[in-house]
């Protein structure tokens, strides 16, 4: 079992619902301070987005963040260098599209991530069917591969994905790309479907934009991922202190 999963299971054992904020690396020059602030604010792990030109699974906010980061010259290498110089104290989970790893070669990519202290990877366009090579490359490292499940996922796939995912299972709250909060989500049903087949920690993301939603989702899941809502404040000029406040608000809502 990868260290990420060991940590997250322990967290659950301790009765804590995980809070995992998402940051786009390089979207602002001080992005890593924001990450550190989030940890102060009560994050249990952080998702580090590595910008890709064609973020098929992301809504407008994260697209904009990625464009800014790319325009600023951010690369997988630059992100890894920055991360390896920082000591953030919580597990780091990389989130990006498969082409960045594919292009560099999987062994080289996992080496880079490992060297930067990354403990998990979310690759939303990497289906379980196509993931064998990647998982083989990760096998030699401590990087957990985290799979998503969605409201459209079928029973048979829930079983396979829950069995394959490492660290936690990422449950999409709704049929949407990141940053869309409209309409009621199916998060509870999705989480239940995972639970029916596996005891892996199950976190809810995609569509959690308010502390209230985080509070509600915390009632039936093991963790909460908040992305676009936070990224948007940062794009709009939030300081690391603002980010700390944002995260601690979510922290409190979850813990209530």
């Amino acid at each position: 079992m990868k260290s990420l999963e060991v940590a997250l299971r322990a967290l659950r054992e301790s009765g804590t619902t995980a809070l995992v904020p998402y940051f786009m690396a390089g979207a602002t020059p001080d992005w890593i301070q924001h990450v550190a602030a989030a940890v102060h604010g009560g994050a249990n792990a952080v998702e580090i987005g590595i910008p890709f030109s064609d973020p098929m699974m992301d809504g407008p906010v994260i697209q904009r963040a990625a464009e800014r980061a790319l325009a600023a010259g951010t690369t997988l290498e630059s992100v890894c260098t920055e991360l390896s110089g920082a000591d953030l104290g919580v597990p780091l989970i990389a989130m990006t599209y498969y082409n960045l790893f594919h292009h560099r070669g999987l062994v080289r990519s996992t080496g880079l991530l490992s060297g930067a202290g990354v403990r998990g990877a979310i690759v939303p366009d990497l289906t379980i069917e196509e993931s064998q090579e990647w998982r083989e490359a990760c096998a030699a490292t401590d990087i957990a591969t985290i799979f998503l499940v969605a409201p459209s996922t079928t029973a048979e796939r829930f079983a396979r994905l829950a069995a394959a995912t490492e660290g936690f299972c990422y449950a999409s709250a709704r049929m949407a790309v990141t940053g869309r909060a409209e309409g009621g989500g199916d998060a509870q049903a999705v989480v239940a479907s995972v639970r029916a087949t596996s005891d892996v920690p199950t976190y809810v993301g995609i569509g959690i934009t308010t502390a209230r939603q985080a509070h509600d989702a915390a009632r039936f899941s093991d963790g909460i991922i908040v992305g676009s809502a936070l990224v948007e404040t940062i794009l709009n000029g939030a300081t690391p202190a603002d980010t700390e406040e944002f995260v601690s608000k979510f922290r409190h809502a979850i813990d209530q």
Partner: protein, 394 residues
């Protein structure tokens, strides 16, 4: 007992053509891809579906399109050129073949809506057309830049009852329209089919679109046979995503014909690209050293795509087909030459294939060789642009 390899057969169960293809999509879309695959497999072996598909193509879309022997062009360049006239198909290009198939499949799956991406608007207009005929709701995603460059095609789609959404992300062109269509599809898979416009995207699209386009090659083979040139020496087609090329190659993949795909030099995914993953597939892509996808640049909007269909990547890797790049200048000359000599104004896309013949006649194409040219579309959509360019030079 060495069997020669069979080209352009079914991909592997996971949708691979050699090292390429597959499915690289958000989990949310996987059930839709699987549903589509099984619906297609089912339909494609159902005589009633095949019959309807063929009937709509013949009674609505104008198939079979003729083969025109290009007499004056052939004489001038010393090779025997036959043009497959997809420019005569309804809406002006081969795109209609695919959308007729996919909209019939949409109805068969019980879905009531289609979405599509479009660059210059050809696939968008074709989709809007086929959707109108069946009374399906239709939304087309188009890069904002393209909606401005191709405002008339936006209006055409609207006339046909479709909604056109201008995509403001990224480079605001075709690849961003694909991204946006995928994002939209995630939200509405239950009642909506994504009508992809070329042999790209996740399995089963590259295979399905090739199958729907293979009627081009099947007809051409049959027509040439009746003229006594069953197997041409060369079969040449332009390649954006690669659907018209795949369609015509399909009729000749297991013959002795040389297969040549002509990409825009500014978007030559095979010549200048490298393997990568985009839009649901592993294929050849134009990307920078970081693995960020680059924008393609071509005089023809329809070839402005930074990738190529995975089956083409495989045909290139296996050596069965060759892919070459042609620059904008040669394309302009080719468009003018074909117009003047044959009375056919080709689409700028198709003019890439014409230009290659002009360049290679007597070189890579031996004198007197027979060449089957896929004239994928008509140039009417391009004359305003060509006029501006040529006037700018006077």
């Amino acid at each position: 007992m060495n069997q020669p390899p069979l080209y352009m057969d079914r991909p592997s169960p996971a949708g691979h053509f050699g090292d390429f293809g597959g499915r690289f999509v958000p989990e949310a879309l996987m059930p839709a891809c699987l549903e589509l695959e099984s619906a297609f497999v089912d339909a494609w072996s159902d005589p009633a579906f095949l019959e309807e598909y063929r009937t709509v193509l013949s009674e609505f879309a104008g198939r079979p399109t003729p083969i025109t022997y290009l007499g004056r062009f052939s004489k001038q360049f010393g090779v025997e050129v036959y043009a497959k006239r997809e420019d005569l198909a309804h809406t002006g290009s081969h795109k209609i073949n695919n959308v007729v198939g996919q909209t019939l499949l949409t109805r068969r799956m019980g879905k009531t809506r289609v979405i599509a991406e479009t660059g210059a608007g050809q696939h968008g207009v074709a989709t809007a057309t086929a959707a109108a005929r069946l009374g399906l709701e239709c939304t087309v995603f188009m890069g904002e830049l393209d909606t401005q460059r191709q405002a008339l095609n936006v209006f055409r789609m609207e006339l046909l009852g479709s909604r056109v959404v201008a995509v403001t992300s990224g480079s605001r062109t075709l690849k961003d329209a694909v991204n946006e269509a995928m994002r939209e599809w995630v939200t509405c898979v239950s009642d909506t089919h994504y009508c992809l416009g070329s042999v790209m995207g996740p399995h089963p699209f590259p295979w399905m679109v090739r199958e729907f386009q293979s009627i081009i090659g099947v007809e051409a083979h049959d027509q040439l046979t009746r003229r006594g040139v069953a197997t041409p020496d060369v079969v040449v087609a332009c390649v954006g995503g690669g659907s018209n090329a795949a369609g015509i190659f399909a009729g000749f993949a297991n013959t002795s014909a040389r297969l040549v795909g002509v990409e825009a030099a500014g978007g030559a995914a095979v010549t200048n690209g490298s393997p990568g993953v985009l839009h649901g597939m592993r294929s050849m892509l134009i990307q920078d050293e970081q693995g960020q996808i680059e924008e393609a640049h071509s005089i023809s909007a329809g070839l402005d795509y930074p990738g190529i269909g995975p089956e083409h990547a495989h045909l290139a890797a296996s050596g069965r087909a060759e892919y070459v790049g042609i620059g904008d200048e040669d394309v302009l000359v080719a468009l003018q030459t074909l117009s003047e000599l044959e009375g056919i104004i080709p689409a700028l896309e198709s003019a890439h294939a014409v230009a290659w013949i002009m360049q290679e006649a007597g070189r890579a194409i031996p004198r007197g060789a027979s060449v089957l040219l896929n004239l994928s579309g008509r140039g009417d959509k391009d004359v305003a642009q060509v006029r501006e360019i040529l006037r700018g030079r006077q």
